[in-house]
C-alpha cells in the first residue's frame, strides 16, 4: 500500500516537474510576444494614464508637473470635447444599427443557394479591402458638389432636387455622408460574420418548423434570431467598439472641421497638432472610458435577457 502511495506521490512529483518544465518551455515561446506587447501596448497604455495626470507638452522648456485630475475636470467643461463625444456616440449608434440591419439582410440573401453566390461573396470583400483613407476619397469624389455623380443623378437625371447638394460641406448632410461611407465599408464584414452564424444553424430545424406549420416570419423570429444571437452579439460589440474609435473617415472627409470632430480626431488634434500630451492623453483615456461604458451597458442588457 505504502509503496503504491509513494509511487503515486513520486509519479505526481514527476508529473509536477514535467508540468513545471512544460510551463517554462511555454513561457519561453511566449516571451518574444510578451516583450513586444509590453513594449508597444501595455507600457504605452500605462504611460498614457500617467501622462493624463500631468501637464506634459512636447517641445516644452518647462518640466512636466503632476496636476492630478485637473485635465479631466477641464474635459467636462470643454465644449469641443463634449460636441465630439456627442457626435461620436451618435455616429456609433446610427452606423451600428444600419450595419446590423443591412448586414442581416445581406446574410439572409446569401444564405440561399444560387448560381454565382461565391462571386457575390467575393464582391463583398471589395469595400472591406480598400483602405478607408482611399475609399473616403472615392466617396468624396462621388459627393462632389459640382462634378459628383450623386448630384449628377439627383439634379440632371432624376430632377429630384433643383440645386446640387454640397454633401460633405453642408452641416445638414455631413454626418449622413460619413455614415454612408462607414456603412458601405463595414457592412460586408457584419454580413460575412452573420452568414457564418447562419450556416451553423441546422437546416433540419427549419424543416421541423415547416412541418409544424410555422410561417416564414415565425421561423425567422423563433429559430433564426435566437440561434444567430451569439454572432449578432459579436458583430454588435465589434462594430460598436470600432465605431467609437472612428478616425479615418472623419479625418479624410472633414479634416480639421470643428463641428465634425470625433473623439479620436479630437485626441489626434490635441496630441499631434497642439502637442498637449497631458490633455490629449486625458482625451484618449476618455475614449477608453466611453468604450467601457458601452461594454457595461451591453453586459447588463444581455445578461438580463439571458436570465
Amino acid at each position: 500500500m505504502s509503496t503504491t502511495a509513494s509511487e503515486a506521490e513520486k509519479q505526481g512529483e514527476v508529473a509536477g516537474i514535467r508540468a513545471r518544465r512544460r510551463a517554462r518551455v511555454a513561457w519561453a515561446f511566449l516571451s518574444p510576444a510578451l516583450i513586444v506587447t509590453a513594449f508597444v501596448a501595455l507600457y504605452p497604455l500605462c504611460d498614457t494614464l500617467y501622462l493624463s495626470l500631468t501637464n506634459t507638452r512636447l517641445a516644452s522648456e518647462e518640466p512636466p508637473r503632476f496636476v492630478g485630475l485637473s485635465n479631466y475636470v477641464e474635459l467636462v467643461h470643454d465644449g469641443f470635447f463634449l460636441d465630439a463625444l456627442l457626435l461620436t456616440v451618435l455616429f456609433a449608434v446610427i452606423t451600428v444599427m444600419l450595419e446590423l440591419a443591412l448586414g442581416l439582410g445581406i446574410a439572409l440573401l446569401l444564405d440561399a443557394r444560387f448560381k454565382g453566390r461565391s462571386a457575390v461573396r467575393a464582391a463583398m470583400l471589395v469595400p472591406w479591402a480598400i483602405p478607408t483613407a482611399v475609399s473616403t476619397q472615392m466617396w468624396k469624389w462621388m459627393y462632389n458638389d459640382v462634378y459628383g455623380v450623386f448630384n449628377d443623378v439627383l439634379v440632371n437625371r432624376l430632377g429630384l432636387v433643383s440645386e446640387p447638394i454640397a454633401f460633405t460641406a453642408d452641416p445638414r448632410t455631413s454626418l449622413a455622408a460619413a455614415v454612408l461611407v462607414d456603412v458601405w465599408k463595414t457592412t460586408p464584414f457584419v454580413a460575412l460574420l452573420l452568414l457564418a452564424g447562419l450556416q451553423l444553424i441546422p437546416r433540419e430545424l427549419y424543416e421541423a418548423a415547416r412541418v409544424d406549420g410555422a410561417t416564414r416570419l415565425q421561423a425567422f423570429t423563433q429559430i433564426t434570431l435566437p440561434l444567430l444571437r451569439p454572432a449578432l452579439l459579436v458583430a454588435l460589440v465589434f462594430r460598436t467598439l470600432d465605431a467609437l474609435r472612428v478616425f479615418d473617415v472623419f479625418y479624410v472627409m472633414f479634416g480639421s472641421r470643428p463641428d465634425m470632430q470625433t473623439l479620436a480626431t479630437y485626441a489626434h488634434e490635441i496630441l499631434v497638432s497642439i502637442s498637449d500630451v497631458g490633455y490629449g492623453s486625458a482625451v484618449s483615456t476618455a475614449i477608453f472610458l466611453v468604450i467601457a461604458v458601452f461594454i457595461v451597458i451591453y453586459v447588463v442588457l444581455f445578461r438580463r435577457r439571458e436570465a
Binding site: A59, D78, G79, F80, A169, S256, R257, P258, D259
Partner: protein, 449 residues
C-alpha cells in the same frame, strides 16, 4: 526672455495699429506668370537671378520645405534649381502642407525628434519665436544682409539676440473686387462698410446667377486653419471687437466680436457659397479668377495671378482696403513668411548660402516681378519696376495692420490660434456665436495656463 522679448513685442505693437504705409513705400500694371490651366505648376516667366559670389557646395544635400501651391511653388522650385546649378549642392524641394497649421505641426514633430530630415524651412512670421530654440543663429553669417531688410521685419526674426530667420516677403489682407461688375450694377466705388459690401454682393450675385449658377457674391478663407485666424481677426477688429488677446487674457468674448461672427455666419449660404467654410486661399482665388465672384478677401499674391494673360478677369478687378463697421477701422492682418535653418541640419554652410540667396535683393526683386510678393528690402520696394508691379500697395494704405497675438501667446501661439479658428469655424457652421466665443475663451485659457 528679457530685453529681446521686449523689442519683439514692441515691433508688433508698433506695427499693429499703424497704417500700412509704415511697412511699405510708394508704389503702380502687373507683369507676371502664366497660369496654366492644366496640372502643372504655373510657368515662371523670367529666369531666376544667378547666385552672387557663388561658392561650391558640391556634396551638400538640402531639404527645403517650400511653398506648395501656385506661382509661389513654381518660384521656389526655380530658385532652388538655380542655386543647385550655381553651387553644385542638391536641393530637394518638399512641398509644405498647403495648410499652415499642418505645416506647423510637421515642423514641430521634426524638431521634437531633432530630425536632420529638413534643412531650410518656410516659416510664418508668427513662428520664429516658437521655433527659435531649434533654429540656427544667422547673425554671424547673414547679419550684413539682414541690415538691408526692414528693421521691423528683422526684429520679428530676432529672438533673444539671435537672428533665427530671414524675411522672405510680407503680406496683409485686402479686398479684391470686380470693377466691371461694380460698374455694371451702378456702384461708383468699392464698399467701405460691411453693410455696403453685403448689399452690393447680394445685388451682383442675384444678377449674375442668371448667367452662372455658381456665381458668388463674396469669397474668403473659411476653412478651419491658420488662414481663418487671419480672416476672423480682420472681421472682429473691424467691428471694434479687439484682437483676441490683451496681454495673456483672452478678450474675444464681447458683443462686437459676436456681431462680427453672426455677420459672417449669415454670409455663408447667402452671399458666400456654403463651401466657403472649406476654402483656403487658392480655393477662393480659383473662384474669383474664374470670374465667379464679385468680391474676395485674399493676400497680395492673387493680384499678380489675376492679371496673368489668359486669366478671365485680367484688367477687370481692383483692390481696396477691407470693409469695416461705421466708426471702426479697416483692418488687415499682418502676414508674411520668413526662412529659417534647422539647428540639426547636416549642411549648415550650404543652407546659409541658400537662405542668403533667397533673401538677396536680386531674388526679392525677381519674386516681386514674377509673383507679386512684397519685398522686405526698402530699396527693392522703391525699384521702379517693382513699384509698377505692385500698384495695389498705394490703394490699401488706409488700412490698419493687425498682428496675430504671437507675442502675447509666445510658444503657445499655435494653440491659441487653433482654439480661435476652431471656435470661429464652429460659429460659421451654426453654433451660436456667443457660445462659440465662450468656448474659444475657455480653450485659450487652458492653452495659456
Amino acid at each position: 526672455m528679457g530685453g529681446d522679448e521686449q523689442t519683439r513685442r514692441s515691433f508688433l505693437a508698433t506695427t499693429a495699429g499703424l497704417s500700412l504705409s509704415a511697412l511699405i513705400s510708394g508704389c503702380r500694371r502687373a507683369p507676371s506668370a502664366e497660369m496654366d490651366e492644366g496640372e502643372e505648376l504655373p510657368e515662371v516667366r523670367m529666369p531666376p537671378p544667378p547666385v552672387r559670389g557663388a561658392v561650391r557646395h558640391a556634396g551638400a544635400r538640402l531639404v527645403f520645405y517650400a511653398e506648395s501651391v501656385g506661382i509661389g511653388a513654381a518660384i521656389d522650385r526655380a530658385l532652388a534649381q538655380r542655386f543647385a546649378r550655381d553651387t553644385g549642392a542638391t536641393v530637394d524641394v518638399v512641398l509644405r502642407p498647403r495648410d499652415a497649421t499642418e505645416t506647423y505641426a510637421s515642423y514641430q514633430r521634426l524638431f521634437q525628434a531633432r530630425s536632420a530630415d529638413v534643412d531650410v524651412l518656410s516659416l510664418d512670421i508668427v513662428w520664429p519665436g516658437i521655433f527659435a530654440p531649434h533654429l540656427l543663429d544667422l547673425g554671424q553669417t547673414l547679419g550684413a544682409l539682414a541690415a538691408a531688410h526692414l528693421e521691423a521685419a528683422i526684429r520679428n526674426d530676432t529672438v533673444q539676440g539671435r537672428l533665427v530667420a530671414m524675411p522672405y516677403f510680407t503680406d496683409f489682407g485686402m479686398l479684391y473686387y470686380r470693377s466691371d461688375l461694380l460698374q455694371k450694377y451702378g456702384y461708383g466705388a468699392p464698399p467701405t462698410t460691411w453693410d455696403e459690401l453685403e448689399e452690393m454682393a447680394k445685388a451682383i450675385q442675384s444678377g449674375e446667377r442668371a448667367r452662372s449658377r455658381a456665381f458668388a457674391g463674396f469669397v474668403w478663407q473659411g476653412k478651419a486653419y491658420e488662414g481663418l485666424t487671419c480672416n476672423a481677426l480682420e472681421w472682429i477688429h473691424s467691428h471694434g471687437g479687439g484682437a483676441i488677446l490683451e496681454g495673456r487674457e483672452p478678450t474675444v468674448k464681447n458683443p462686437r466680436a459676436a456681431q462680427a461672427l453672426a455677420r459672417f455666419r449669415r454670409f455663408v449660404g447667402t452671399i458666400s457659397p456654403i463651401g466657403v467654410t472649406g476654402y483656403e486661399e487658392e480655393d477662393a482665388r480659383n473662384v474669383f479668377q474664374g470670374g465667379n465672384a464679385a468680391f474676395m478677401r485674399n493676400w497680395p499674391y492673387a493680384y499678380a495671378a489675376g492679371n496673368t494673360k489668359g486669366s478671365r478677369i485680367e484688367g477687370l478687378f481692383d483692390v481696396a482696403p477691407l470693409p469695416h463697421e461705421p466708426g471702426y477701422e479697416s483692418s488687415a492682418t499682418l502676414g508674411g513668411w520668413t526662412l529659417g535653418i534647422s539647428k540639426y541640419s547636416r549642411f549648415p554652410d550650404a543652407a546659409v548660402a541658400f537662405v542668403g540667396y533667397l533673401c538677396s535683393p536680386e531674388v526679392q526683386r525677381f519674386r516681386a516681378l514674377v509673383g507679386g510678393y512684397i519685398p522686405t528690402i526698402l530699396a527693392v520696394q522703391n525699384d521702379p519696376d517693382v513699384a509698377r508691379a505692385l500698384p495695389f500697395l498705394e490703394r490699401v494704405r488706409g488700412a490698419t495692420l493687425v498682428a496675430r497675438p504671437s507675442n502675447q501667446a509666445g510658444a503657445r501661439y499655435n494653440e491659441v490660434s487653433i482654439a480661435f479658428y476652431q471656435g470661429v469655424s464652429k460659429a460659421l457652421y451654426g453654433t451660436d456665436p456667443e457660445k462659440a466665443l465662450e468656448q474659444i475663451e475657455r480653450r485659450i485659457r487652458r492653452s495659456l495656463r
